[in-house]
Symmetry: C2
Subunit: 293 residues, 2 copies
Protein backbone atom coordinates (compact mmCIF):
# COMPACT_ATOMS: atom_id res chain seq x y z
CA UNK A 1 0.00 0.00 0.00
CA UNK A 2 1.45 3.33 -1.05
CA UNK A 3 0.06 6.24 0.92
CA UNK A 4 1.09 9.78 0.00
CA UNK A 5 0.81 12.41 2.71
CA UNK A 6 -0.36 15.69 1.15
CA UNK A 7 -0.92 17.81 4.27
CA UNK A 8 2.21 19.98 3.87
CA UNK A 9 1.20 21.01 0.34
CA UNK A 10 -2.46 20.42 -0.46
CA UNK A 11 -3.46 20.82 3.17
CA UNK A 12 -1.59 24.01 4.01
CA UNK A 13 -2.33 25.52 0.59
CA UNK A 14 -6.01 25.54 1.56
CA UNK A 15 -5.49 27.07 4.99
CA UNK A 16 -4.50 30.60 6.01
CA UNK A 17 -0.75 31.15 5.46
CA UNK A 18 1.51 29.83 8.23
CA UNK A 19 5.17 30.62 9.02
CA UNK A 20 7.99 28.86 7.19
CA UNK A 21 9.25 27.25 10.39
CA UNK A 22 5.82 25.71 11.03
CA UNK A 23 5.80 24.16 7.56
CA UNK A 24 9.24 22.70 8.13
CA UNK A 25 8.22 21.34 11.54
CA UNK A 26 5.15 19.65 10.03
CA UNK A 27 7.19 18.14 7.19
CA UNK A 28 9.77 16.83 9.64
CA UNK A 29 7.09 15.37 11.92
CA UNK A 30 5.52 13.59 8.97
CA UNK A 31 8.86 12.33 7.66
CA UNK A 32 9.33 10.54 10.99
CA UNK A 33 5.98 8.67 10.91
CA UNK A 34 7.10 5.94 8.52
CA UNK A 35 4.96 7.24 5.64
CA UNK A 36 6.75 6.53 2.36
CA UNK A 37 5.60 9.44 0.18
CA UNK A 38 5.04 13.11 0.97
CA UNK A 39 3.81 15.89 -1.29
CA UNK A 40 6.08 18.54 0.21
CA UNK A 41 5.42 21.87 -1.51
CA UNK A 42 4.18 23.49 -4.71
CA UNK A 43 6.08 25.93 -6.89
CA UNK A 44 3.31 28.33 -7.81
CA UNK A 45 3.23 32.08 -8.29
CA UNK A 46 3.32 33.74 -4.84
CA UNK A 47 0.63 36.23 -5.86
CA UNK A 48 -1.72 33.40 -6.85
CA UNK A 49 -1.00 31.23 -3.80
CA UNK A 50 0.79 33.12 -1.00
CA UNK A 51 0.62 30.00 1.20
CA UNK A 52 3.44 28.44 -0.85
CA UNK A 53 5.55 31.58 -1.53
CA UNK A 54 8.41 30.16 0.57
CA UNK A 55 8.54 26.73 -1.12
CA UNK A 56 12.31 26.89 -1.72
CA UNK A 57 13.06 27.91 1.88
CA UNK A 58 10.75 25.23 3.30
CA UNK A 59 12.29 22.52 1.21
CA UNK A 60 15.88 23.64 1.89
CA UNK A 61 15.27 23.55 5.65
CA UNK A 62 13.30 20.30 5.77
CA UNK A 63 14.89 17.04 6.84
CA UNK A 64 15.02 14.57 3.95
CA UNK A 65 14.28 11.17 5.38
CA UNK A 66 16.00 8.36 3.49
CA UNK A 67 13.43 6.05 1.93
CA UNK A 68 10.73 8.73 1.69
CA UNK A 69 9.70 9.83 -1.81
CA UNK A 70 9.06 13.59 -1.76
CA UNK A 71 7.15 15.26 -4.59
CA UNK A 72 6.22 18.79 -5.60
CA UNK A 73 3.28 20.22 -7.47
CA UNK A 74 3.99 22.61 -10.34
CA UNK A 75 1.51 24.63 -12.41
CA UNK A 76 3.68 25.17 -15.48
CA UNK A 77 7.14 25.15 -17.02
CA UNK A 78 8.40 27.96 -14.77
CA UNK A 79 7.28 26.02 -11.70
CA UNK A 80 8.89 22.86 -13.06
CA UNK A 81 12.17 24.70 -13.46
CA UNK A 82 12.00 25.89 -9.84
CA UNK A 83 11.13 22.38 -8.58
CA UNK A 84 13.95 20.75 -10.52
CA UNK A 85 16.41 23.39 -9.34
CA UNK A 86 15.30 22.76 -5.77
CA UNK A 87 16.20 19.11 -6.27
CA UNK A 88 12.82 17.45 -6.78
CA UNK A 89 12.64 14.57 -9.25
CA UNK A 90 8.97 13.64 -8.74
CA UNK A 91 6.74 16.38 -10.12
CA UNK A 92 2.97 16.64 -10.32
CA UNK A 93 0.90 18.76 -12.65
CA UNK A 94 -2.88 19.26 -12.63
CA UNK A 95 -5.41 19.43 -15.43
CA UNK A 96 -9.14 19.49 -14.83
CA UNK A 97 -11.45 17.08 -16.66
CA UNK A 98 -14.12 19.76 -16.47
CA UNK A 99 -13.50 22.54 -18.96
CA UNK A 100 -15.37 25.06 -16.79
CA UNK A 101 -13.34 24.14 -13.72
CA UNK A 102 -10.09 24.33 -15.69
CA UNK A 103 -10.99 27.77 -17.07
CA UNK A 104 -11.91 29.09 -13.62
CA UNK A 105 -8.70 27.68 -12.17
CA UNK A 106 -6.13 28.64 -14.79
CA UNK A 107 -8.06 30.69 -17.35
CA UNK A 108 -7.55 28.25 -20.21
CA UNK A 109 -9.39 25.27 -21.65
CA UNK A 110 -8.59 21.68 -20.75
CA UNK A 111 -7.19 21.24 -24.29
CA UNK A 112 -4.88 24.23 -23.87
CA UNK A 113 -3.65 22.90 -20.51
CA UNK A 114 -2.98 19.51 -22.07
CA UNK A 115 -0.83 21.17 -24.75
CA UNK A 116 1.16 22.91 -21.99
CA UNK A 117 1.59 19.60 -20.17
CA UNK A 118 3.05 17.98 -23.30
CA UNK A 119 5.95 20.44 -23.18
CA UNK A 120 6.29 20.19 -19.42
CA UNK A 121 6.65 16.39 -19.55
CA UNK A 122 9.48 16.73 -22.08
CA UNK A 123 11.19 19.38 -19.98
CA UNK A 124 11.06 17.26 -16.80
CA UNK A 125 12.13 14.08 -18.57
CA UNK A 126 15.12 15.88 -20.09
CA UNK A 127 16.15 16.89 -16.57
CA UNK A 128 15.82 13.26 -15.40
CA UNK A 129 12.58 13.73 -13.47
CA UNK A 130 9.17 12.06 -13.68
CA UNK A 131 5.71 13.57 -14.05
CA UNK A 132 2.41 12.58 -12.48
CA UNK A 133 -0.63 14.09 -14.16
CA UNK A 134 -3.46 14.73 -11.72
CA UNK A 135 -6.87 14.82 -13.40
CA UNK A 136 -8.93 17.13 -11.20
CA UNK A 137 -12.74 16.87 -11.01
CA UNK A 138 -12.50 13.22 -12.13
CA UNK A 139 -15.59 12.35 -10.08
CA UNK A 140 -17.62 15.47 -10.67
CA UNK A 141 -17.37 19.24 -11.04
CA UNK A 142 -19.01 21.84 -8.80
CA UNK A 143 -19.97 23.84 -11.92
CA UNK A 144 -20.80 21.12 -14.48
CA UNK A 145 -22.05 18.32 -12.19
CA UNK A 146 -21.18 14.77 -13.18
CA UNK A 147 -18.13 14.35 -15.42
CA UNK A 148 -18.27 11.53 -17.96
CA UNK A 149 -15.67 8.83 -17.19
CA UNK A 150 -14.99 8.70 -20.96
CA UNK A 151 -13.83 12.31 -20.82
CA UNK A 152 -11.40 11.47 -18.02
CA UNK A 153 -10.22 8.42 -19.97
CA UNK A 154 -9.57 10.57 -23.06
CA UNK A 155 -7.37 12.90 -21.02
CA UNK A 156 -5.46 9.99 -19.57
CA UNK A 157 -4.86 8.46 -23.02
CA UNK A 158 -3.51 11.79 -24.19
CA UNK A 159 -1.09 12.35 -21.29
CA UNK A 160 0.13 8.76 -21.41
CA UNK A 161 0.84 9.18 -25.12
CA UNK A 162 2.76 12.32 -24.17
CA UNK A 163 4.88 10.33 -21.74
CA UNK A 164 3.26 10.92 -18.35
CA UNK A 165 4.80 8.53 -15.82
CA UNK A 166 1.83 8.26 -13.49
CA UNK A 167 -1.78 9.39 -13.30
CA UNK A 168 -3.91 10.49 -10.38
CA UNK A 169 -7.65 11.07 -10.20
CA UNK A 170 -8.65 13.99 -8.05
CA UNK A 171 -11.92 14.19 -6.14
CA UNK A 172 -11.52 17.94 -6.10
CA UNK A 173 -14.73 18.91 -4.31
CA UNK A 174 -15.75 15.68 -2.61
CA UNK A 175 -18.10 14.34 -5.27
CA UNK A 176 -16.66 10.82 -5.43
CA UNK A 177 -18.82 7.95 -4.25
CA UNK A 178 -18.35 4.18 -4.46
CA UNK A 179 -20.53 4.15 -7.58
CA UNK A 180 -18.51 6.87 -9.33
CA UNK A 181 -15.26 5.11 -8.46
CA UNK A 182 -16.51 1.90 -10.09
CA UNK A 183 -17.76 3.75 -13.14
CA UNK A 184 -14.47 5.60 -13.62
CA UNK A 185 -12.47 2.37 -13.61
CA UNK A 186 -14.68 0.90 -16.31
CA UNK A 187 -13.34 3.68 -18.59
CA UNK A 188 -9.72 4.33 -17.57
CA UNK A 189 -6.70 1.98 -17.75
CA UNK A 190 -6.46 -0.50 -14.85
CA UNK A 191 -3.99 0.30 -12.07
CA UNK A 192 -2.07 -2.85 -13.01
CA UNK A 193 -1.17 -1.24 -16.33
CA UNK A 194 -0.71 2.43 -15.39
CA UNK A 195 0.59 3.62 -11.99
CA UNK A 196 -2.59 5.09 -10.56
CA UNK A 197 -3.21 7.16 -7.47
CA UNK A 198 -6.57 8.24 -6.04
CA UNK A 199 -7.09 11.49 -4.21
CA UNK A 200 -10.34 11.52 -2.26
CA UNK A 201 -12.05 14.13 -0.18
CA UNK A 202 -14.37 13.36 2.72
CA UNK A 203 -16.69 16.30 2.13
CA UNK A 204 -19.81 14.15 2.11
CA UNK A 205 -18.63 11.30 4.33
CA UNK A 206 -17.70 8.85 1.58
CA UNK A 207 -13.88 9.09 1.87
CA UNK A 208 -13.20 5.68 3.38
CA UNK A 209 -16.04 4.01 1.46
CA UNK A 210 -14.38 5.23 -1.74
CA UNK A 211 -11.00 3.89 -0.68
CA UNK A 212 -12.59 0.54 0.21
CA UNK A 213 -14.17 0.38 -3.24
CA UNK A 214 -10.92 1.36 -4.97
CA UNK A 215 -8.99 -1.31 -3.05
CA UNK A 216 -11.40 -3.89 -4.44
CA UNK A 217 -10.59 -2.57 -7.93
CA UNK A 218 -6.86 -3.08 -7.37
CA UNK A 219 -5.81 0.51 -6.61
CA UNK A 220 -2.92 0.60 -4.13
CA UNK A 221 -1.94 4.30 -4.11
CA UNK A 222 -3.88 6.94 -2.20
CA UNK A 223 -3.45 10.52 -1.10
CA UNK A 224 -4.42 11.58 2.41
CA UNK A 225 -3.87 14.67 4.51
CA UNK A 226 -2.75 14.67 8.15
CA UNK A 227 -5.67 15.57 10.41
CA UNK A 228 -7.80 16.15 7.32
CA UNK A 229 -5.86 19.41 6.89
CA UNK A 230 -7.11 21.50 3.99
CA UNK A 231 -10.81 22.10 4.26
CA UNK A 232 -13.06 22.40 1.24
CA UNK A 233 -12.70 25.74 -0.56
CA UNK A 234 -16.15 25.27 -2.14
CA UNK A 235 -18.05 24.66 1.10
CA UNK A 236 -16.86 26.72 4.08
CA UNK A 237 -16.70 24.66 7.26
CA UNK A 238 -16.85 21.35 5.38
CA UNK A 239 -14.17 18.66 5.35
CA UNK A 240 -11.71 18.45 2.48
CA UNK A 241 -9.02 15.80 2.11
CA UNK A 242 -9.59 12.46 3.72
CA UNK A 243 -7.61 12.35 6.99
CA UNK A 244 -4.45 10.24 6.94
CA UNK A 245 -5.14 8.89 10.44
CA UNK A 246 -8.56 7.61 9.36
CA UNK A 247 -7.05 5.89 6.30
CA UNK A 248 -4.14 4.36 8.23
CA UNK A 249 -6.49 3.29 11.03
CA UNK A 250 -8.88 1.45 8.69
CA UNK A 251 -6.07 -0.11 6.66
CA UNK A 252 -4.25 -1.28 9.80
CA UNK A 253 -7.46 -2.95 10.97
CA UNK A 254 -7.59 -4.70 7.57
CA UNK A 255 -3.96 -5.75 8.11
CA UNK A 256 -2.88 -3.72 5.08
CA UNK A 257 0.59 -2.39 5.76
CA UNK A 258 1.29 1.32 5.16
CA UNK A 259 4.54 1.69 7.10
CA UNK A 260 2.95 4.44 9.17
CA UNK A 261 3.15 4.48 12.98
CA UNK A 262 -0.34 5.65 13.94
CA UNK A 263 0.73 7.14 17.27
CA UNK A 264 3.40 9.26 15.60
CA UNK A 265 0.91 10.27 12.93
CA UNK A 266 -1.59 11.39 15.56
CA UNK A 267 1.19 13.45 17.15
CA UNK A 268 1.79 15.06 13.73
CA UNK A 269 -1.95 15.74 13.41
CA UNK A 270 -1.92 17.47 16.80
CA UNK A 271 0.96 19.61 15.56
CA UNK A 272 -0.98 20.41 12.36
CA UNK A 273 -3.96 21.43 14.49
CA UNK A 274 -1.78 23.72 16.58
CA UNK A 275 -0.21 25.25 13.46
CA UNK A 276 -3.53 26.18 11.83
CA UNK A 277 -5.19 27.05 15.13
CA UNK A 278 -8.46 25.24 14.55
CA UNK A 279 -9.95 21.82 15.19
CA UNK A 280 -9.22 19.47 12.31
CA UNK A 281 -11.95 17.05 11.20
CA UNK A 282 -10.10 13.74 11.66
CA UNK A 283 -12.18 11.37 13.76
CA UNK A 284 -9.20 9.26 14.78
CA UNK A 285 -7.44 12.42 15.96
CA UNK A 286 -10.47 13.29 18.13
CA UNK A 287 -11.35 9.83 19.44
CA UNK A 288 -8.08 7.91 19.17
CA UNK A 289 -7.74 4.44 17.67
CA UNK A 290 -10.56 1.92 18.22
CA UNK A 291 -8.22 -0.25 20.29
CA UNK A 292 -5.10 1.39 21.76
CA UNK A 293 -1.89 -0.46 20.93
Amino acid sequence: MSLREVGPRDGLQNEDPVPTAAKVALLDALSSTGVRRIEAVSFVHPKAIPQMADAEEVWAAAHKEPGVRYSALVPNSRGATRALEAGFTELEVVVSASDTHNRRNVNRSTAESLDDITGLIDQVHEAGGSVEVIVATSFGCPYEGNVAPERVAGIVRRVLADGADRVAYGDTTGMATPRRVRELFRAVPPPTRVPTLLHFHNTRGTGLANILTALELGVVEFDASVGGLGGCPYAPGASGNVATEEVVHMLADMEIETGVDLDKLIDAARLAQKIVGRDLPSGVLKAGPRVPR
Copy 2:
Protein backbone atom coordinates in the same frame (compact mmCIF):
# COMPACT_ATOMS: atom_id res chain seq x y z
CA MET B 1 -33.83 -0.43 2.01
CA SER B 2 -35.18 0.20 5.48
CA LEU B 3 -33.66 3.20 7.15
CA ARG B 4 -34.57 4.03 10.75
CA GLU B 5 -34.15 7.61 11.88
CA VAL B 6 -32.90 7.66 15.49
CA GLY B 7 -32.22 11.38 15.97
CA PRO B 8 -35.28 12.08 18.16
CA ARG B 9 -34.31 9.37 20.66
CA ASP B 10 -30.68 8.26 20.39
CA GLY B 11 -29.59 11.65 19.09
CA LEU B 12 -31.34 13.89 21.61
CA GLN B 13 -30.60 11.50 24.49
CA ASN B 14 -26.90 12.24 23.99
CA GLU B 15 -27.31 16.02 23.82
CA ASP B 16 -28.15 18.54 26.53
CA PRO B 17 -31.90 18.42 27.34
CA VAL B 18 -34.14 20.38 24.94
CA PRO B 19 -37.76 21.57 25.39
CA THR B 20 -40.68 19.24 24.70
CA ALA B 21 -41.91 21.43 21.85
CA ALA B 22 -38.54 21.19 20.11
CA LYS B 23 -38.65 17.40 20.29
CA VAL B 24 -42.11 17.36 18.80
CA ALA B 25 -41.07 19.76 16.03
CA LEU B 26 -38.09 17.56 15.13
CA LEU B 27 -40.23 14.41 15.12
CA ASP B 28 -42.81 16.08 12.89
CA ALA B 29 -40.14 17.38 10.49
CA LEU B 30 -38.69 13.89 10.21
CA SER B 31 -42.10 12.27 9.76
CA SER B 32 -42.56 14.44 6.65
CA THR B 33 -39.29 13.43 4.96
CA GLY B 34 -40.55 10.09 3.63
CA VAL B 35 -38.44 8.04 6.05
CA ARG B 36 -40.30 4.86 6.92
CA ARG B 37 -39.10 4.17 10.48
CA ILE B 38 -38.39 6.50 13.39
CA GLU B 39 -37.12 5.71 16.86
CA ALA B 40 -39.26 8.30 18.61
CA VAL B 41 -38.55 8.25 22.34
CA SER B 42 -37.30 6.09 25.19
CA PHE B 43 -39.15 5.29 28.40
CA VAL B 44 -36.33 5.45 30.89
CA HIS B 45 -36.14 6.70 34.45
CA PRO B 46 -36.11 10.53 34.37
CA LYS B 47 -33.36 10.63 36.99
CA ALA B 48 -31.12 8.41 34.87
CA ILE B 49 -31.85 10.18 31.59
CA PRO B 50 -33.49 13.60 32.05
CA GLN B 51 -33.39 14.15 28.27
CA MET B 52 -36.31 11.72 27.88
CA ALA B 53 -38.32 12.60 31.01
CA ASP B 54 -41.18 13.93 28.86
CA ALA B 55 -41.47 10.89 26.56
CA GLU B 56 -45.24 10.54 27.06
CA GLU B 57 -45.88 14.24 26.34
CA VAL B 58 -43.64 14.23 23.28
CA TRP B 59 -45.31 11.19 21.83
CA ALA B 60 -48.85 12.43 22.61
CA ALA B 61 -48.17 15.72 20.81
CA ALA B 62 -46.32 14.30 17.81
CA HIS B 63 -48.00 13.85 14.45
CA LYS B 64 -48.28 10.17 13.57
CA GLU B 65 -47.61 9.89 9.85
CA PRO B 66 -49.47 6.98 8.24
CA GLY B 67 -47.01 4.48 6.83
CA VAL B 68 -44.23 5.37 9.27
CA ARG B 69 -43.23 2.72 11.81
CA TYR B 70 -42.45 4.41 15.14
CA SER B 71 -40.53 2.59 17.85
CA ALA B 72 -39.52 3.25 21.44
CA LEU B 73 -36.57 2.11 23.50
CA VAL B 74 -37.24 0.64 26.93
CA PRO B 75 -34.74 -0.38 29.61
CA ASN B 76 -36.94 -2.81 31.53
CA SER B 77 -40.45 -4.08 32.28
CA ARG B 78 -41.55 -0.78 33.81
CA GLY B 79 -40.45 1.08 30.66
CA ALA B 80 -42.18 -1.51 28.49
CA THR B 81 -45.42 -0.93 30.38
CA ARG B 82 -45.14 2.83 29.82
CA ALA B 83 -44.35 2.36 26.11
CA LEU B 84 -47.28 -0.02 25.58
CA GLU B 85 -49.63 2.30 27.46
CA ALA B 86 -48.47 5.17 25.26
CA GLY B 87 -49.51 3.12 22.25
CA PHE B 88 -46.19 1.79 20.93
CA THR B 89 -46.14 -1.70 19.45
CA GLU B 90 -42.50 -1.79 18.31
CA LEU B 91 -40.21 -1.86 21.33
CA GLU B 92 -36.43 -2.06 21.58
CA VAL B 93 -34.33 -3.24 24.46
CA VAL B 94 -30.55 -3.14 24.82
CA VAL B 95 -28.06 -5.63 26.17
CA SER B 96 -24.32 -5.22 25.88
CA ALA B 97 -22.13 -7.99 24.51
CA SER B 98 -19.37 -6.72 26.76
CA ASP B 99 -19.94 -7.67 30.35
CA THR B 100 -17.94 -4.67 31.61
CA HIS B 101 -19.95 -2.27 29.43
CA ASN B 102 -23.22 -3.85 30.57
CA ARG B 103 -22.24 -3.55 34.23
CA ARG B 104 -21.19 0.09 33.84
CA ASN B 105 -24.43 0.84 31.99
CA VAL B 106 -27.01 -0.96 34.09
CA ASN B 107 -25.06 -2.39 37.02
CA ARG B 108 -25.70 -6.02 36.15
CA SER B 109 -24.00 -8.71 34.10
CA THR B 110 -24.91 -9.50 30.50
CA ALA B 111 -26.38 -12.80 31.73
CA GLU B 112 -28.60 -11.01 34.27
CA SER B 113 -29.80 -8.57 31.60
CA LEU B 114 -30.61 -11.47 29.28
CA ASP B 115 -32.76 -13.03 32.02
CA ASP B 116 -34.63 -9.74 32.39
CA ILE B 117 -35.15 -9.59 28.61
CA THR B 118 -36.72 -13.05 28.61
CA GLY B 119 -39.54 -11.74 30.80
CA LEU B 120 -39.80 -8.48 28.89
CA ILE B 121 -40.30 -10.29 25.58
CA ASP B 122 -43.17 -12.30 27.08
CA GLN B 123 -44.73 -9.16 28.54
CA VAL B 124 -44.62 -7.30 25.22
CA HIS B 125 -45.83 -10.27 23.19
CA GLU B 126 -48.79 -10.73 25.55
CA ALA B 127 -49.71 -7.09 24.87
CA GLY B 128 -49.49 -7.68 21.12
CA GLY B 129 -46.21 -5.85 20.58
CA SER B 130 -42.86 -6.90 19.12
CA VAL B 131 -39.35 -6.66 20.57
CA GLU B 132 -36.06 -5.83 18.92
CA VAL B 133 -33.01 -6.75 20.94
CA ILE B 134 -30.09 -4.39 20.36
CA VAL B 135 -26.73 -5.96 21.12
CA ALA B 136 -24.55 -3.03 22.14
CA THR B 137 -20.74 -3.10 21.73
CA SER B 138 -21.14 -5.73 18.99
CA PHE B 139 -18.03 -4.40 17.22
CA GLY B 140 -15.91 -3.59 20.24
CA CYS B 141 -16.04 -2.22 23.77
CA PRO B 142 -14.26 0.88 25.05
CA TYR B 143 -13.30 -1.04 28.22
CA GLU B 144 -12.62 -4.55 26.92
CA GLY B 145 -11.41 -3.82 23.36
CA ASN B 146 -12.43 -6.26 20.65
CA VAL B 147 -15.52 -8.35 21.35
CA ALA B 148 -15.55 -11.89 19.98
CA PRO B 149 -18.22 -12.34 17.28
CA GLU B 150 -18.99 -15.72 18.87
CA ARG B 151 -20.00 -13.95 22.06
CA VAL B 152 -22.40 -11.73 20.09
CA ALA B 153 -23.73 -14.81 18.28
CA GLY B 154 -24.37 -16.57 21.58
CA ILE B 155 -26.44 -13.63 22.82
CA VAL B 156 -28.42 -13.60 19.59
CA ARG B 157 -29.14 -17.34 19.79
CA ARG B 158 -30.39 -16.85 23.32
CA VAL B 159 -32.73 -13.92 22.58
CA LEU B 160 -34.08 -15.59 19.43
CA ALA B 161 -34.85 -18.70 21.50
CA ASP B 162 -36.64 -16.39 23.93
CA GLY B 163 -38.79 -15.04 21.11
CA ALA B 164 -37.07 -11.78 20.07
CA ASP B 165 -38.64 -10.56 16.83
CA ARG B 166 -35.65 -8.68 15.47
CA VAL B 167 -32.01 -8.14 16.33
CA ALA B 168 -29.79 -5.10 15.95
CA TYR B 169 -26.02 -4.81 16.30
CA GLY B 170 -24.87 -1.59 17.93
CA ASP B 171 -21.55 0.06 17.16
CA THR B 172 -21.84 1.79 20.51
CA THR B 173 -18.56 3.72 20.51
CA GLY B 174 -17.61 3.77 16.82
CA MET B 175 -15.36 0.70 16.79
CA ALA B 176 -16.92 -0.96 13.75
CA THR B 177 -14.84 -1.28 10.60
CA PRO B 178 -15.46 -3.16 7.34
CA ARG B 179 -13.34 -6.03 8.67
CA ARG B 180 -15.30 -6.28 11.93
CA VAL B 181 -18.60 -6.20 10.04
CA ARG B 182 -17.50 -9.13 7.86
CA GLU B 183 -16.23 -11.06 10.87
CA LEU B 184 -19.46 -10.56 12.81
CA PHE B 185 -21.57 -11.93 9.96
CA ARG B 186 -19.47 -15.07 9.82
CA ALA B 187 -20.75 -15.80 13.34
CA VAL B 188 -24.33 -14.49 13.55
CA PRO B 189 -27.44 -15.60 11.60
CA PRO B 190 -27.72 -14.14 8.08
CA PRO B 191 -30.10 -11.19 7.60
CA THR B 192 -32.16 -13.38 5.26
CA ARG B 193 -33.06 -15.59 8.22
CA VAL B 194 -33.37 -13.09 11.07
CA PRO B 195 -34.57 -9.48 10.64
CA THR B 196 -31.29 -7.65 11.24
CA LEU B 197 -30.53 -3.99 11.68
CA LEU B 198 -27.13 -2.33 11.93
CA HIS B 199 -26.44 0.74 14.01
CA PHE B 200 -23.15 2.39 13.08
CA HIS B 201 -21.31 5.36 14.44
CA ASN B 202 -18.95 7.51 12.39
CA THR B 203 -16.55 8.23 15.24
CA ARG B 204 -13.49 7.15 13.25
CA GLY B 205 -14.74 7.89 9.73
CA THR B 206 -15.81 4.37 8.81
CA GLY B 207 -19.60 4.87 8.98
CA LEU B 208 -20.37 4.69 5.26
CA ALA B 209 -17.63 2.13 4.56
CA ASN B 210 -19.32 -0.11 7.14
CA ILE B 211 -22.72 0.35 5.53
CA LEU B 212 -21.25 -0.43 2.10
CA THR B 213 -19.75 -3.63 3.49
CA ALA B 214 -22.99 -4.62 5.21
CA LEU B 215 -24.97 -4.03 2.00
CA GLU B 216 -22.68 -6.53 0.27
CA LEU B 217 -23.52 -9.01 3.04
CA GLY B 218 -27.25 -8.60 2.43
CA VAL B 219 -28.16 -6.27 5.30
CA VAL B 220 -31.00 -3.92 4.34
CA GLU B 221 -31.85 -2.21 7.65
CA PHE B 222 -29.77 0.60 9.11
CA ASP B 223 -30.05 3.21 11.82
CA ALA B 224 -28.96 6.78 11.15
CA SER B 225 -29.36 10.07 12.99
CA VAL B 226 -30.41 13.35 11.37
CA GLY B 227 -27.42 15.67 11.10
CA GLY B 228 -25.32 13.11 12.96
CA LEU B 229 -27.16 14.24 16.11
CA GLY B 230 -25.92 12.58 19.26
CA GLY B 231 -22.16 12.95 19.58
CA CYS B 232 -20.01 10.31 21.17
CA PRO B 233 -20.31 10.20 24.98
CA TYR B 234 -16.92 8.45 25.19
CA ALA B 235 -14.95 11.01 23.15
CA PRO B 236 -16.01 14.65 23.68
CA GLY B 237 -16.17 16.54 20.39
CA ALA B 238 -16.15 13.39 18.28
CA SER B 239 -18.92 12.23 15.95
CA GLY B 240 -21.46 9.68 17.09
CA ASN B 241 -24.23 8.25 14.97
CA VAL B 242 -23.75 8.17 11.23
CA ALA B 243 -25.66 11.11 9.71
CA THR B 244 -28.88 10.23 7.93
CA GLU B 245 -28.16 12.72 5.12
CA GLU B 246 -24.83 11.05 4.40
CA VAL B 247 -26.46 7.61 4.26
CA VAL B 248 -29.38 8.74 2.10
CA HIS B 249 -27.01 10.68 -0.17
CA MET B 250 -24.74 7.68 -0.81
CA LEU B 251 -27.64 5.26 -1.22
CA ALA B 252 -29.43 7.60 -3.66
CA ASP B 253 -26.26 7.78 -5.74
CA MET B 254 -26.26 3.96 -5.78
CA GLU B 255 -29.91 4.08 -6.87
CA ILE B 256 -30.98 2.35 -3.67
CA GLU B 257 -34.37 3.67 -2.69
CA THR B 258 -34.96 4.82 0.89
CA GLY B 259 -38.17 6.83 0.42
CA VAL B 260 -36.44 9.87 1.90
CA ASP B 261 -36.56 13.28 0.23
CA LEU B 262 -32.99 14.54 0.77
CA ASP B 263 -33.96 18.22 0.62
CA LYS B 264 -36.58 17.77 3.33
CA LEU B 265 -34.11 15.75 5.36
CA ILE B 266 -31.52 18.54 5.13
CA ASP B 267 -34.20 20.96 6.32
CA ALA B 268 -34.83 18.68 9.30
CA ALA B 269 -31.06 18.56 9.99
CA ARG B 270 -30.96 22.37 10.00
CA LEU B 271 -33.80 22.31 12.53
CA ALA B 272 -31.91 19.76 14.65
CA GLN B 273 -28.83 22.00 14.52
CA LYS B 274 -30.89 24.97 15.68
CA ILE B 275 -32.47 22.93 18.47
CA VAL B 276 -29.18 21.78 19.98
CA GLY B 277 -27.42 25.07 19.23
CA ARG B 278 -24.21 23.63 17.79
CA ASP B 279 -22.83 22.60 14.41
CA LEU B 280 -23.69 19.00 13.64
CA PRO B 281 -21.07 16.82 11.92
CA SER B 282 -23.03 15.81 8.80
CA GLY B 283 -20.98 16.55 5.70
CA VAL B 284 -24.01 16.62 3.40
CA LEU B 285 -25.64 19.14 5.74
CA LYS B 286 -22.54 21.37 5.47
CA ALA B 287 -21.75 20.95 1.78
CA GLY B 288 -25.08 19.98 0.24
CA PRO B 289 -25.57 17.08 -2.17
CA ARG B 290 -22.84 16.33 -4.74
CA VAL B 291 -25.21 17.30 -7.55
CA PRO B 292 -28.24 19.44 -6.66
CA ARG B 293 -31.52 17.95 -7.84
